[in-house]
Symmetry: D2
Subunit: 419 residues, 4 copies
């Protein structure tokens, strides 16, 4: 089949990503010959763009039949989808800018392949399978989930007894959430917000809702760029962490009055709502860095508004009846994915995150018999293994415990310690 120009663009994007994903290069080197996934069908649900593409390719190189589908209506790229579909062992169901109905159709189409493993984002495909194709569940050996939101959702599902297969909470591994959330979400949320608005961060009053990994990343990086950052939280330890790190900490009802930029990262809904809109300054910018577009209560905002207008690509102004305008970025969807020029997480971050999915999937498959149904932590050694590969690609050598030191860690008698 001759390549369409579209495919060429997709291939170029894949090549750029591939060149900056050294951990995946190492995975292909290690598993390209042994092909440990041979005979398995693996479903990948995520934002189908170049980085996910390299992940998909790497799974295929390790022997899997890969079927992919998009996790969001707006985040997949047709040229990358085309370039992937042109490869052996890969078939995909993803389109850019689809309706929720069409997204569902695509998910169902992917599920028709009867995947052995689902490598999921926000538990989208797994929830679809459990909810709408329970009859296919028996073929499923397990799933791996890479987002905070998805793990929460899997746990909610488990509380209802609906998780009848082992699930690995890949998001909860240090190698995933500390790097992807802190650095990936942190950097890309801010750069996308700044590019979409052409505004300056230095000197701005920024309110970050939530001080989990994503919130910490955004709060620290925003301050580092010169913003005055206020943090809101519902958890007292997180609130204190933020306080001790030098942030102003208060309730949203108070912060609403002074913020110029609001960024939500909580994984919960209606974090900014009517009572807060009431108090905001004219021109306040509202952006979301959490998975779902529910953190900012856009419905309430629309009801309060006397007029709405797209004042800039990716920014909608809601005019309130007292003349104030509030500016909602990307409809409250992920600011690092849904703004006009967004490209999601940086490549290196996804190299690491998808490597965790890869290694967790491999471990789950190889130990599926030992694993009970339900949500499990990924064994620490898998996480450690990915870290070692990453350090190797960076050329960083670290210390090893000497025998004497190992013995020291095993003792508690004072003579031996102070000896």
């Amino acid at each position: 089949m001759s390549s369409s120009p579209d495919i060429e663009t997709g291939r170029r994007k894949l090549a750029w990503a591939r060149a900056h994903m050294p951990v995946h290069a190492e995975l292909r080197r290690r598993y390209g010959e042994t092909r440990p996934f041979a005979g398995l069908t693996i479903a990948v649900c995520s934002h189908i763009e170049a980085k996910t593409g390299v992940f998909v390719e790497t799974l295929a190189a390790a022997g899997a039949e890969v079927v992919f589908t998009g996790s969001e209506p707006g985040s997949s790229q047709d040229d990358v989808v085309a370039a992937l579909n042109a490869q052996d062992g890969i078939s995909g169901y993803a389109e850019r800018g689809v309706s929720e109905e069409r997204l569902l159709e695509l998910h169902l189409a992917a599920l028709e392949h009867g995947p052995d493993l689902i490598l999921d984002d926000a538990a989208e495909l797994t929830a679809c399978l459990v909810h709408r194709r329970p009859e296919l569940l028996q073929g499923l050996r397990g799933m791996c989930e890479q987002t905070t939101t998805g793990v929460q959702r899997m746990q909610a599902m488990a509380r209802e007894g609906a998780v009848k297969f082992p699930a690995y909470a890949v998001n909860d591994t240090p190698m995933k959430h500390e790097f992807d959330n802190i650095h990936g979400t942190g950097e890309s949320s801010l750069t996308n917000l700044l590019l979409t608005t052409n505004l300056l961060l230095a000197g701005k009053q920024v309110v970050v809702a939530g001080y989990g990994d994503c919130g910490q990343g955004i709060a620290h990086k925003a301050r580092a760029l010169g913003a005055q950052v206020t943090v809101t939280e519902i958890e007292p330890r997180q609130a204190l962490r933020a306080h001790m790190a030098g942030f102003r900490v208060t309730a949203m009802a108070e912060a609403a009055a002074w913020g110029e930029i609001f960024i939500t990262t909580t994984g919960n809904r209606e974090v900014i709502r009517a009572e807060h809109f009431e108090r905001m300054r004219d021109g306040a910018l509202l952006a979301n860095a959490g998975h779902f577009n529910v953190e900012i209560d856009a419905r309430a905002l629309a009801e309060m508004a006397v007029a709405r207008e797209e004042v800039r690509p990716g920014i909608e102004a809601f005019r309130l009846n007292d003349g104030r305008e509030l500016h909602l970025v990307a409809e409250g969807r992920l600011v690092n994915l849904a703004t006009p020029t967004a490209m999601g997480h940086p490549v290196e971050v996804m190299d690491q995150t998808f490597a965790m999915q890869f290694m967790a999937a491999l471990h789950l498959y190889q130990h599926a018999d030992e694993l009970t149904p339900g949500v499990h932590a990924v064994p620490d050694l898998v996480d450690r293994q990915v870290a070692e590969i990453k350090l190797q690609t960076l050329g960083i050598g670290i210390d090893a415990l000497t025998e004497s030191q190992q013995r020291f860690l095993d003792t508690w008698r004072v003579e031996e310690i102070k000896g």
Copy 2:
């Protein structure tokens, strides 16, 4: 004349900028009725996009006939140009994506209006006037220059005796260079670089050439985002400043070997050249944040290359004969202006920078008789005035000297001091 859709887009861009340029709003309030520029023709040479547009409008509101033209082949936006040209008292000569020849024609067309004042960027229009239309010089009452590069150039011109009119080095005012260079260039260079590459800054080896205001802004903000930053300099005090701020400082010949991202900010040429390309790592990114595209010796790079390819919009790969690829961003042009999605400085920064141009122009015009030909510092009170307006728009109140404190500053006798 009915608006074309193009004009509508331009108007929307102008509206967004206007809403985030409170200092200009205050200037229009103060000078909209008194119209102190009435009767004058003012030529504005800059990147003609929304922020410059608001500046142009504000000059017009203050009574001037404004003629504008673009300072760079690629940085003007046709929709904004159209929206400006549709306004009374404004006529412009700017087009996006022109050749150097066409740019010259546009400059000459602007000069045909016989400006009383030139408000310039990189001294482009002034140099053109002096060099090619010396006969029009007699009508010129003065010029104001807003860039480091332009001031250097005006001073070089003055050393040759070619500056026969007063020129204000607006760039050298604290209100301009500290904010525009440190925060404007600092933020926007990094955000544009990250969005163009989709790469992560955290953990990267970044080499910043030059530790002037632009270099400081970039170096500090890059480190704040998690990069390991090395600084190169030619000035020993600047080098020590960087050292004491915790940066690694070394010669480029050494830093070339470990950098992953290089950003030039020196205002000089060939800062990164063949001897450095020789030593670089495969995949090194080369970007420029200085005014002219001469800091990275792209000609030498092209000569060394066995192949070139655009691997991503705005990024060209140069393959060397040993297999390494070096990646040049935006042809070595300003990374915050010339990348595909770039929008130049943040709005608030230009609000302040153009307000300095406005107030310096007003001062120059009102004191032209007292000023000798040559390059002059802008009087400090003008700078202070803009600062006061800016603080006012931010709602920040500061302390005033008490009488007792004023007296204290005027004394030196120990009894009075320790009294």
Copy 3:
């Protein structure tokens, strides 16, 4: 009994600490009347200075008979000991500047009181009890341990089956280790090092061994003050964390060559040893922020030295046979405790840490019947409770989950999420 002047100084120190320990004030308010520890003997082993004194007083106010003893030969203060011993319900065995033998005698004297609970530091008193007075073990209802080192030691003890009582790993609670280690050790190690040496941190090459909480605190704060910081680690994830935070990461054998200041925080021994001393620069400073004075191999250094001299209070120079001098701070003991002017952790940090000990002890006592022998995590609600008290004393109000948000966290069905 009339107060000796000594006691007066001790009382003044206690008053200052008390005024800056608002969490303890709240504990006295809450438990001063109900006296939940009435009838219990509680042994406190720690550095007996003002902050520990306020903790001891607070336990007594809550009804306990308190017996205290010092955890280190050099860290107790006689005036504070005297002021405490003058109070009802408190008896102590601590002296400043004792030998290891005398320290043991003091520990044994404390144990003679037959404590119901031990609130320990580095498991010193507990190890002494287990090792030397096993016959007293039967009266022990449990212990709480506040240091990383002590928890490691308790776990080593548990692996040998020697922990026949419940032990709470108070150190491992977020409220303890994140604040005490990151902020307490971080700040006070640097301030004490700088005051002891009168040297500047800005521009220095600092090598931090270990990137646990203590190491992170020191590394980030040292960089924030202008140092160039290199991190060494044995754990790949920690190494990557440091890398992504912008630190240089390498093996000690390499860092040894460029460091000007070395600070160990690993909890292990011989982290800096002969092979490293060999490569160090003349004048390198060696300091330890880990619990035991074993991290820097002072014995090996002494063997390598041709001469030793105290060049400054708290700093000993070891002259090597090639003429280089290495400077050991405080004999390799805790730099924030053992230097001449050191006062240990800041007051606010110990307010929080000791509040965790207090609340963990209360919880352990009230649930001793349910707890099996061995090392246990402190229940999260205890940690949360201390955080809530701390926020209350800071006057910080935070958000609460709405009902709608609580429901959201409990769901996983897409219609309900996106609903």
Copy 4:
């Protein structure tokens, strides 16, 4: 003469300082043989402790007869004074803990030597000479002043026509004020404050009065350690700088209400005064980092107080009639010099500052005939020279301009620039 033990301690202090003052080592190497100051009497007025001692020694090594005297009643150290006085070519008049009257006597004794040059601190000795020994003025060839306060004072003196000799404003050189003020004052003010109080900076509300170099140093370093920093200013540009750097900026009357720690750095008097004390929180700490003890209005505080007590060495509590206590550190004297364990600036900072004094004195002496009476800027080449020596001692090599680059800086014609 046999050394008293006192002298031995002084010698040890000098040895430690000497070992960490590599720029002075280089000055001794360069000028130890040529002895350019031979035949001159140089009076040094400063805090006479080890670092000043090395400066005094180095002047003597370069040929001068040096007479020294203390600049403050409490900041000289008797053992260092003794160790210096035991050296050839050095005679000194300084004692620790003297009254203002005794300080004056010591100054007059030093002036009796009829100095050719005065190297001054806060213009203390020069003001004394001008005011009380005008008859000795004719022998004075000039003076060099190293503090902001001293330069202000010299300028006030010059406005009255009282400066009848050339004076170099050494403080105003980049090599002095940027390093000494930002890093020296910045670090040592915070470390001394923290050690004196044993309090934690992380999470604290810190108010910094003044955003000059000292204020910037303190504000940035305090925030870097986790404080929430508010800045007050009287100068609008400085206020904006602070705002853009992410600090909260407001008037002192407002900040007074929320600050927990106040640090003054303005060089003016009564910056914190009765109207501010009225609004402060119970327990607020008041510290000064400016030269004179006039920034905090201690007289007004004493008048408002119903009781005063030293609650801790170096900290006096003032109890107000509403029960609040305000805590004044070191009587409002320099917090990095006047607290009980203070040692002033770090050694490396004074190495650079005194090297500026040395080189400025040499330049002034060698060009005294060309210099008119009055306050002069130190020629830039002197500053540059010290920077080059410092870089050399650090082993840092920097880039040099190529010929092509030098030409570029000299041109302004577009063909040559873009050529």
